[in-house]
Symmetry: C3
Subunit: 143 residues, 3 copies
């Protein structure tokens, strides 16, 4: 398939407040709404958290798994492990998780819909909450 046309770019910004130190917030509905609202048929959707202590991931929204993801992050990027950044601020572990996991995920958009698996919900991953003001920038680009 090949399509052709003027490029279009659409932005939507979410503001989220988090309640605890580690938390996953499902933003799939908002991402899919942004894709629809963009009117873009074919292109890409980027979901970006402009933060150094949060991340974006895609996976299943199952209550047990969400706890597992948080446990895994805490084990891979442990708090109070003698990190040098903790001398300045006590959140080195959150920085490490954000740097390694990444603060961005990207999906194809085809025929006006986000191309994602049935079990690929999209989450903001808070690793240094609670925070009153976490931003997620959703961008759709295409034709």
């Amino acid at each position: 398939m090949g399509v052709n046309g003027k490029v279009r770019v659409y932005f939507k910004e979410l503001t989220l407040s988090t309640k605890t130190q580690y938390e996953l917030i499902d933003i799939t509905y908002e991402v899919e709404k942004a894709v629809r609202d963009s009117g873009i048929s074919n292109g890409l959707c980027i979901i970006h958290a402009p933060h150094a202590t949060a991340a974006i991931i895609a996976n299943e929204n199952e209550a047990g798994l969400i706890q597992d993801i948080i446990r895994s992050i805490k084990e891979l990027y442990p708090r109070n492990a003698g990190w040098k950044h903790d001398i300045i601020d006590d959140n080195a572990a959150a920085h490490l998780g954000s740097a390694m996991i990444g603060s961005t995920r990207i999906f194809p958009v085809k025929d006006g819909r986000l191309v994602r698996g049935t079990w690929q919900n999209i989450f903001l991953v808070e690793m240094d909450g609670p925070r009153p003001y976490r931003r997620v920038v959703i961008e759709v680009i295409g034709e």
Copy 2:
């Protein structure tokens, strides 16, 4: 360099069957063929697995290293480690690997070619096989 033109979007979908629980399948040839078939000169290529228990990575296709990658994934995201999701399904480890490693990789396309290093082959990473039907969506966008 700056170029200018109508945006074009090209999609190609692969269907792969996996033979074992953990497996890397090299899809570099198919990705590069999609870039050529797209006729797009300059833009991006996104390789996306719409699955929550698989991932996409780029690295060297060397038999020993492929075993090392699988070993590393198993050590970072161990099976049977008391994950809560395993009460529902026995594949929490695969979900964790997919969420953290990511199910998407993206490369520049320049002068009609994928911009990748000599040792950057592209792989589907199966972490919950065998599966008869794994999808990879390849999208090329640009001009």
Copy 3:
């Protein structure tokens, strides 16, 4: 917001030399300069290292944290751990870090500026240096 126009693509390539085995090099200035030089108002910026033993990450440029990131990479992807690739070359750990962390990061571009958090500097992560010739491809696509 929705905008409309011809697609434009801009490329800039950096060549960096690294001095030690593990090293982070801050390339934020060069990435932001590429976005300005592109003249593109709205779109995406992809930062890609075409290497299998390096990575790209985004996080805070704080001296202690940079040491923490290197320590975390070394702990998650340890050297001399009996990797099979080390029989051929002694850098399996660097390959693993590159494959898992990823050699690409991507950011929105809005109103002519890179959309990034205050603490999201962009780094090339060397894991198999010193090397005289590391490349980073910066691409801006949009309108």
